[in-house]
């Protein structure tokens, strides 16, 4: 027997006036079985909120399979959307409102402690009275488990409602759910329709119309049956904003940088960069080459880069592993190249759809021999766009390989940011194929800086053979010890030259104190929010976020010395100091932590986790307090 409110058997009378609660931010999750479109609903809700002037950050919850068995926790597919009055930089702690298409997917979120104790849950209730007794049994068992929290349930007859408009409610519930959210959060109807038009732009007008009707049905049902509204005040932004996910921003950044070739092989969670580019790239003179494998993808990119403008390859961890040898060739031949690694959980196939920051050391040290390269890590979706321009320029100026390390959180997260103003200066210049001056050599290294001017095929009198063998300034193969020492030094020196041009990183919070938290990549928002909350509790916590990981940004040791403790917070594995067998000698640290210890000789500590989801600021705050209490 269920005692939940608003059961369909006894529909609630239309409330005279729903209770409106005004809040500075709110966190919503939409969860369904894979294939029911919760992501379209949730991402749409995030985009509409951003367009209205709310801060927004979305995180996709993606199963590893396309069609996992329905109604199982493993089939959970959805989105968390955190919206705010001001900018939102991370996914927050717990969802306060949930739209769940069945109780099993809800259960998976409950078990991950993803839901606030007092969360309001709008749940499809067809399962409670399903003709299959096993389903009813599963529903009842789940409800017993869910009772351990004080969630408020509102039963929504999604299936029944949608069937009044469509034959297959599985294909319609997501827009009905968007209607529920649009009503509860007072979303602008026109902007909502625009979003639907955008989502279905490749489909017929009929499809659009049908989805708008479903949306309106959801709104009408909510108006009739839901007794509360959430008001997150939206301030239309002062300047132009755009809203997109990180993979799209990477693709657009590649266009803005004037790149003309992206060679790739399908891999989660990187593929959508190439989906976007496949749609647009040819209109700007670009080509997406889907190679036969990860190795060929980077090989094609290196060939293209060698002969012309800097090319791009996009992959994730397993692809990085496969590309390793070729990247060594690019480094040895000083062929510029940009490699985007959208990190996922590892090792091996790991967690294909889920976030991790575990490729840093692999990227830095996977080549045999000394293979210096530049590594940069965007921290926000806006960074994803701009770092591509930086990456292309550095690759060209230094004749080097530049890695861009994003992750599954940035890849699929959607947030608004200041609209970039494309500039012709960002584009790669046209190829100059003039004859080379007499006596020019392909590796005419500036003996101090290691920099040299590239010679391109087609340049008269510049003929040489690029080679992965040790070579001299003329690219002549030699095994001479002095030449080999110099070649290594020249390839390494370029990084030191680049480091000289970098500014010391910004410390957020006091410039001295008890604890400095250092992060990199997509964790910036969560770390800074945690530290801000700590400072609100009068704790002397500051943060520092690194964009350049190779070379490391300057001045770190001086900054670290001003704090009683320094630690990194990362999404990768490290041993906990008090775990069995772990001693100071055997403990393996987080990846950035490991680098910082070696680089600064400061006793940097770390807190790292591999939960397959972004870090929650509340959890980081607990850790900071523990560490300060030590």
């Amino acid at each position: 027997m269920n005692t939940h409110e608003a059961s369909p058997a006894a529909p609630r009378k239309k409330a005279a006036a729903p209770v409106v609660t005004r809040v500075g931010e709110h966190t919503v999750e939409v969860v369904s079985d894979s294939g029911e479109g919760a992501q379209k609903c949730g991402q749409g809700f995030g985009a509409i909120s951003a367009r209205m002037g709310n801060g927004a950050w979305t995180v996709e919850i993606i199963p590893a399979e396309i069609q996992p068995p329905a109604r199982t926790p493993g089939s959970t597919s959805g989105v968390r959307i955190r919206i705010g009055e001001g900018p939102v930089t991370n996914w927050g702690d717990a969802a306060q409102l949930v739209v769940a298409f069945n109780e099993q997917v809800l259960l998976s979120r409950h078990r991950l402690n993803a839901l606030a104790d007092d969360a309001v849950i709008l749940i499809e209730d067809m399962w409670a009275t399903h003709e299959d007794p096993a389903i009813v049994q599963a529903w009842n068992t789940a409800m017993e488990e869910l009772k351990t929290r004080s969630y408020r349930f509102i039963h929504v007859p999604m299936e029944e409602q949608c069937l009044t408009l469509v034959d297959n409610a599985r294909r319609g519930k997501n827009m009905f759910a968007l209607g529920l959210l649009a009503c509860i959060y007072g979303r602008d109807l026109e902007k909502t329709k625009e979003e639907i038009a955008k989502q279905f732009r490749k489909k017929s007008a009929d499809v659009y119309e049908r989805n708008v009707k479903l949306l309106e049905l959801g709104i009408a049902w909510a108006e009739e049956n839901i007794d509360f509204r959430i008001d997150v005040p939206a301030t239309p932004p002062a300047s132009d904003m755009v809203v997109m996910n990180g993979n799209l921003a990477i693709g657009m950044g590649a266009i803005a940088a004037g790149m003309e070739l992206c060679a790739m092989y399908p891999i989660t969670p990187a593929s959508s960069v190439s989906h976007y580019l496949s749609e647009v790239f040819e209109r700007v003179g670009g080509t997406v080459h889907q190679a036969e494998d990860e190795i060929a993808a980077v090989g094609v990119a290196i060939g293209a880069s060698y002969a012309g403008k800097v090319a791009l390859t996009v992959t994730s961890g397993p692809g990085i592993a496969l590309k390793t040898e070729f990247i060594g060739l690019a480094i040895m031949t000083e062929t510029p190249l940009v490699v985007v690694d959208v990190q996922r959980g590892g090792p091996s196939t790991g967690l294909p759809t889920k976030v991790e920051q575990s490729d840093l050391l692999a990227v830095l040290y996977s080549q045999p021999g000394d293979a210096p390269k530049v590594v940069i890590a965007p921290a926000t979706i806006e960074d994803c766009f701009h770092c591509m321009i930086t990456a292309r320029r550095i690759a060209e100026a230094l004749r080097c390989v530049v890695f861009v390390l994003t992750d599954a959180n940035l890849a699929t997260g959607v947030t608004p940011f200041a609209r970039p103003r494309p500039d012709a200066k960002w584009l790669a210049p046209p190829l100059d194929l003039s004859p080379v001056p007499e006596g020019s050599l392909p590796y005419q290294w500036d003996p101090e800086r290691g920099l040299s001017q590239r010679i391109l095929p087609g340049q008269r009198d510049g003929m040489f053979t690029a080679t992965g063998l040790a070579h001299d300034e003329a690219s002549k193969v030699t095994y001479d010890p002095i030449v080999n020492q110099r070649g290594n030094a020249m390839r390494s020196r370029k990084l030191a030259v680049l480091q000289q041009t970098l500014k010391p990183p910004v410390v957020v919070g006091g410039d001295r104190g008890d604890l400095l938290v250092v992060g990199w990549g997509s964790t910036k928002g969560a770390i800074e929010e945690a530290a801000e909350r700590a400072r609100a509790e009068k704790l002397k916590v500051s943060t520092l976020h690194l964009t350049f990981l190779s070379p490391l940004e300057p001045g770190l040791k001086e900054i670290f010395k001003r704090f009683r403790k320094v630690m990194t917070v990362e999404i990768n594995y490290s041993d906990e100091a008090d775990a069995p067998f772990i001693t100071e000698e055997s403990r393996r640290y987080g990846q950035l932590c490991w680098m910082l210890r070696a680089h600064t000789l400061v006793d940097v500590d770390c807190w790292t986790r591999v939960p397959g989801e972004p870090l929650r600021p509340g959890r980081i705050l607990e850790v900071l307090k523990e560490r300060l209490g030590d």
Partner: protein, 316 residues
């Protein structure tokens, strides 16, 4: 030679004439008697015959004895990694269709570690020449069995003799969808070698040429029967095939074969009891990936206009 280069700096008058020596790089460091010397010379002759500007010509290779090839040419070269010259060359052609690209790989390179790229390069049918310098052995790493090593031939890794029948590069290539040019020649028949390279160069699409190549150090006996007895070698002859009249005088064992007949090509390629030299198959009507994927160049203004429209599409 049609110079189609449309980049900055390419507009200079070009009244140069090139001789074979103009393509000669440093002295090749292959062993005495190695078949690669003859192939190198044939390539230099070809470039002179076709008057290819050295700076517009590229040799791309993998790793192994034969992959040192680009170092001995006075053209642009890219000496890559083991098995993977074809992706490099594909990338070069995608960005720079104006360059004339030759890929040189050995049998370990092409048929073993690089086999995946081989199959796909044949299907891409990018406009370039791919030379398989097949000496049936790993040479540079010192005498290990390769996929084309004859069954029973001992090596350092299979001292009792190769365990399995050799892979047949011709029938594999002829089995791949979109294969457009498949020929076989030999380092010891210079006239045929040159004529084959020339036909390959002039072919539109990926021209795959297997060159039987002697390794006097590790497998000296291997092609000796064919070298010493021209009658044991069969020439595929056809007016549309490899036309080398001088060679036909010496090699009198002729087999008429129409290179447009794919079924016949596959059938004769399957039969490895006789060494056959000639053009097995040619079809210039097949799709070339570099043509299919060619996009018009865009100005900076055009690019920025598209990007602005894209940003507007995602405007808040």
């Amino acid at each position: 030679m049609h110079n189609t280069c449309s980049f900055l700096g390419c507009g200079y008058d070009d009244d140069r004439e090139f001789a074979t020596e103009d393509y000669e790089g440093p002295v090749a460091r292959w062993c005495a008697g190695c078949g690669d010397h003859a192939i190198l010379f044939a390539a230099q002759r070809l470039l002179a015959a076709e008057q290819l500007a050295p700076e517009q010509t590229m040799f791309v290779s993998g790793i192994g004895c034969s992959s040192r090839f680009p170092h001995y040419m006075k053209t642009y070269g890219f000496h890559g990694i083991h098995g993977r010259a074809l992706p490099l060359a594909t990338g070069i052609k995608l960005h720079r269709p104006d360059l004339k690209v030759f890929v040189v790989m050995g049998d370990g390179d092409f048929c073993s570690i690089g086999a995946a790229h081989w199959v796909h390069a044949i299907r891409y049918n990018t406009d370039m020449v791919a030379l398989l310098l097949d000496n049936n052995i790993y040479g540079l790493t010192k005498n290990q069995t390769s996929p084309t090593t004859p069954q029973g031939l001992p090596s350092n890794t299979q001292p009792e003799g190769g365990y399995l029948p050799a892979l047949n590069p011709l029938s594999v290539t002829l089995g791949v969808t979109n294969a457009s040019f498949v020929a076989q020649t030999a380092d010891w028949v210079p006239g045929h070698l040159f004529a084959t390279l020339q036909a390959a160069y002039r072919h539109k699409g990926l021209a795959f040429v297997r060159i039987l190549q002697r390794c006097p150090v590790w497998v000296p006996a291997l092609f000796q029967d064919a070298v010493q007895n021209p009658d044991h070698t069969q020439l595929l002859v056809h007016e549309q095939g490899i036309v080398a009249p001088d060679v036909e005088q010496v090699y009198k064992n002729h087999h008429p074969h129409d290179p447009t007949d794919l079924d016949a090509a596959r059938r004769i390629a399957e039969d490895t009891t006789t060494v056959r030299l000639g053009l097995f198959y040619r079809n210039e009507a097949l799709a070339c990936y570099d043509d299919v994927r060619r996009v018009p160049a865009r100005t900076a203004d055009e690019r920025i206009a598209v990007l602005n429209a894209e940003l507007d599409r995602h405007a808040v």
